[in-house]
């Protein structure tokens, strides 16, 4: 089978931006096409990953707007919303469009504009994904993180400091990422002394609210070299997607992220790879506890052991399995629809040797993008060509 290649990638500065959603998407889309030197009117399918432009900004219909703004008419367009996993779901849609033969050139752009809203309002927009029995109690995504972190620490005798070490590690990695929202090292004491947000989690256990956009350009591998040299593209070796319960308390074991288990098994099978083959990973660390849960769910570590890997430095940039070399959502920021695509952007740069001071040795990379509190998950495995 002809594999699906990624021949272009871009991401905008993440953080507090003046541009609104159309401007953010247009910037990433333009820079991605330029990265591969592909003309806008060569784009056959255009997918836009975005959770809530209508709710945040009152702008709907963004795929059509972007196609017009980029000069990509009359490309087929579609919006992909899978809440925080919209980016990963967009990669799935883009992969399908090329793998099925429906498109020979697919542009995927993800983005979100959020920082004009107060933290309380942005939290409410995101919490609107919850079930009515959750929403009426004021349950938010951060509160799910607090509930799950307490259970995890209780069940596996993990020290509270191990969660803080995820924040310290990812902030350190973000220092070398020019696109990151926070380029600031934090020490263990700062994290442990920061204000409680969802007990036992503190301010530095959470990613910030962010504006930003990221993009990828896909085509069949058989024609990739018509556009870029052989050593300047990567391939989607495996991809999988799965859902878990909508109502979070209905999961048998709250410390197991079922959607990450299922989607990673699908991705490994397609790529004919196992967790041992992965050299570098981007995990969805919207909250520090999520890095543990995913590192176990995708099979890097046994259940209840993910925290030890962080303690032992295994997941440091110079460790055996670097996790979140980009700085993760934690320091890079989390513009909902862009995050899954920015994960793949980091892997693409790592596999091509373009990651500058963040560079690690890698031929196989895995990204896990999580929507809700694990409600919907995609796992993508990228390899160098």
């Amino acid at each position: 089978m002809d594999r699906v290649a990624i021949i272009g990638a871009s991401m905008t500065q993440f953080g507090k931006r003046e541009a609104w959603v159309r401007g953010l998407l247009a910037q990433a889309g333009r820079e991605c096409l330029a990265d591969a030197d592909v003309a806008p009117d060569d784009v056959e399918h255009l997918y836009v990953s975005n959770m809530a432009s209508g709710e945040f900004e009152g702008q709907t219909g963004v795929p059509n707007a972007l196609a017009h703004d980029l000069g990509a008419l009359p490309a087929y367009t579609q919006r992909v919303d899978q809440t925080s996993a919209s980016g990963g779901a967009g990669i799935y849609a883009a992969w399908q469009s090329v793998a099925s033969g429906a498109s020979e050139m697919t542009l995927l752009v993800g983005g979100e504009k959020m920082t004009h809203r107060s933290t309380a309002e942005a939290t409410d927009v995101i919490a609107s994904l919850t079930h009515p029995v959750e929403y009426k109690h004021g349950v938010t995504l951060p509160s799910f993180a607090g509930l799950t972190a307490r259970r995890y620490l209780h069940e596996y005798d993990a020290p509270r400091e191990s969660l803080a070490k995820v924040a310290v590690k990812n902030h350190k990695n973000g220092l070398d990422n020019p696109h990151a929202q926070f380029r600031k090292e934090v020490d263990l004491e700062t994290v442990m002394d920061s204000p409680i947000v969802a007990d036992p989690l503190r301010l530095y256990d959470f990613c910030p609210i962010t504006d930003g956009s990221a993009a990828l350009l896909f085509c069949p591998e058989s024609v990739a070299e018509d556009h870029v040299p052989e050593d300047e593209y990567t391939v989607v070796a495996g991809i999988g997607g799965a859902t878990d319960t909508h109502v979070v308390h209905e999961r048998d074991d709250p410390t197991v992220m079922g959607g990450a288990v299922e989607s990673s098994e699908q991705a490994y099978e397609m790529a004919d790879r196992s967790p041992d083959d992965v050299d570098v990973a981007e995990l969805h660390d919207m909250f520090t506890i999520l890095e543990f849960l995913q590192s176990e769910a995708v099979g890097f570590f046994e259940q209840g052991e993910g925290w030890k890997a962080v303690e032992e430095g295994v997941t440091d940039r110079d460790g055996d399995l670097p996790i979140n070399t980009s700085g993760g959502l934690k320091s890079k920021g989390h513009p909902l629809g862009a995050s899954g695509i920015a994960q793949a952007y980091e892997l693409h740069q790592q596999l091509l040797g373009n990651a500058g001071p963040r560079q690690v040795e890698a031929e196989v990379g895995l990204a896990c993008n999580v929507g809700g509190f694990g409600n919907c998950v995609t796992t993508t495995i990228l390899e160098d060509a």
Partner: protein
Amino acid sequence: MPKMTLNAYRCQNGHLTYPEHELCPECGEAQDETVDLAEEIGEVVTWTTSTATPPGVRQPNTLAIVEFSADGESVRAIGQVVEGEEVEIGDEVRPVYAEELRDPDAGIREKESQEWDGYRFEPA
């Protein structure tokens, strides 16, 4: 005031869920029986106190996931903890009815689309 209930739902194969689903998530059968948990004692599985709450939600907001058992089948519910009370994992709690858990006019969710009353938990 009519009698309030905290209903869990059971299918013919005995699977119990809270809340209700269109079909049993376990086996796809209809859920045709209810089990009222309002008078039952449950056990705290985990809890958190959220200090950054959305519009219309009390701040701080302590929440707990509580496990009940009914005829050998266990079922969980999430809910607020009664103001001023503290709970720990393993504590026994009982449901306490509240007419309005958050201000239905303040948040993004359409007021008419769902109910806003329900049960908080307090130490038993």
